[in-house]
Symmetry: C2
Subunit: 281 residues, 2 copies
């Protein structure tokens, strides 16, 4: 309960541009729900959710796979791409087969994209590489030249035209090419315990998230302008960026996520592919 006697649902958010279309309508008051927003980096959101300090949250697909027994998926809402996603890139000095035996630098910020990259290089391309973790922008600035690296988010957009890394693989496109399905990078989860303790407000909060998605979908120009203002990009860049993303969680998106989990199990990156279990609305 909060001060006014209402039960506020603690909603986790990350500060990435790609979730702006879901959080902006709520934070601006355009969409209302029994929500209090908690901002944190992705890894911390996971810890907060696992510790029971969040009720509903954005989380990476990999996090759901790692702790699916604790969570329900929020229906009708995800972050995915159908093809080029622009912000999840393998950048390489060499053609991809020549990476065999080399090392690839990955960010510690993302589990889902690293898992997707591992699947791609191991199963689709068929090369063995080792992975090292570190800040790529800092490494490049200090004159290091790793053979290849994974860049995500703003860093991907900044480094995508780096002249030393002409071999660029967009992992959203890689996935579509491989499976003919969308790739789901992130989902929203409701803690099962929270849904049991506080069923009405949790459902109402989840409905507000879906309503926020629809609100933004009807206002693509505004979303591009807000994101450009926050992220230091141009409006046309942001328009293109959001056009490549999908926030719906329909049948093809569910298939895409299930196939990802099956491949992770097949590559022994996770012990067992979880089922997609949705909150009953």
């Amino acid at each position: 309960m909060n001060d006014t006697g209402e039960t506020a649902v603690r909603l986790g958010r990350i500060s990435y541009l790609n979730v702006l279309p879901i959080y902006y309508p709520i934070e601006s008051g355009n969409v209302r729900g029994p929500l209090s927003v908690v901002s944190a980096p992705p890894a911390e959101l996971n810890l907060l959710a696992r510790a029971g300090k969040l009720d509903v949250s954005a989380c990476s697909s990999f996090e759901y796979a790692s702790a699916a027994d604790d969570y329900f998926l929020v229906p009708d809402l995800a972050i995915g791409s159908r093809g080029h996603v622009r912000s999840v890139l393998l950048l390489s000095r060499l053609p991809v087969a020549k990476l065999d035996g080399k090392s690839v630098r990955v960010s510690y910020q993302t589990h889902t994209s690293v898992a997707l990259l591992k699947l791609f290089l191991q199963q689709r391309v068929g090369v063995d590489v080792t992975y090292t973790t570190g800040d790529v922008t800092r490494a490049l600035a200090s004159g290091e030249r790793p053979d290849a690296f994974l860049a995500i988010g703003d860093e991907a957009m900044r480094l995508s035209a780096h002249p030393d890394y002409p071999h660029r693989w967009d992992l959203g496109s890689v996935w579509l090419d491989w499976t003919a399905l969308p790739f789901i990078f992130g989902v929203w989860i409701a803690r099962r315990a929270a849904a049991a303790e506080n069923p009405g407000p949790v459902r109402e909060a989840c409905r507000a998230l879906v309503e926020a998605k629809d609100w933004s979908k009807a206002r693509p120009e505004l979303v591009a302008e807000l994101a450009a203002a926050q992220g230091g990009f141009t409006v046309p860049d942001m328009r293109t960026y959001f056009e490549g993303l999908v926030y719906d969680f329909g049948e093809r998106e569910k298939d895409g996520l299930s196939v990802f989990f099956e491949k992770l199990e097949g590559a022994r990156i996770i012990p067992k592919a979880p089922k997609l279990q949705f909150l009953e609305m």
Copy 2:
């Protein structure tokens, strides 16, 4: 001149389903122009055009690159894909990096797709393979199991789910992933000599081709039904197939074709990338 005193333009056609949207409206009389249609296999069309026995024809992008000085491109009309094309596939028993040192079977029917495959394996993946030519369907039927093969057209659609070839690369998607541009498999050309000798009718014929494109674009369901009836596929399959193709020749398609020609020159598959020179309409 033909019997009635009109100057008929000799129009070359291939019997592939993908050109149905351009030829059906003309052959059914729904779009009229000073045209007589000559059907032949693609390689023969090239010979007929080079011998001056065709005036306007469909031809592969590679054929245009090989003899650009003899031809103008017909404006506003091409066959391309933005992503999955479904009918131009590399099918492999092995992950693509493991093809290094192996041989890949290609059909003698296509120069453009083979050139695209060579670019992909050599420059994007970085493997050295040898190419052998032969009929894949016959080879598979006789128990041969090449490591990998290129399948196009109906054969690609039939063989795409072959259990011995789980590694499937759609070359339309491969190209989009690589360049973020459409891939142009075919164009229509007007012989420069014909355009000089017979300028009015050649232009009128080219306008009829573009009109035929627009006629079909307005009738996607009819096109899917006609193609299904001719090719032995289902209507939904054909709907999906045509949705993946693009018949316009706009700025992005021109960029896609120019980049293809530059890469062919870079890989020394052709001596020099030709400019795109269009018939003035």
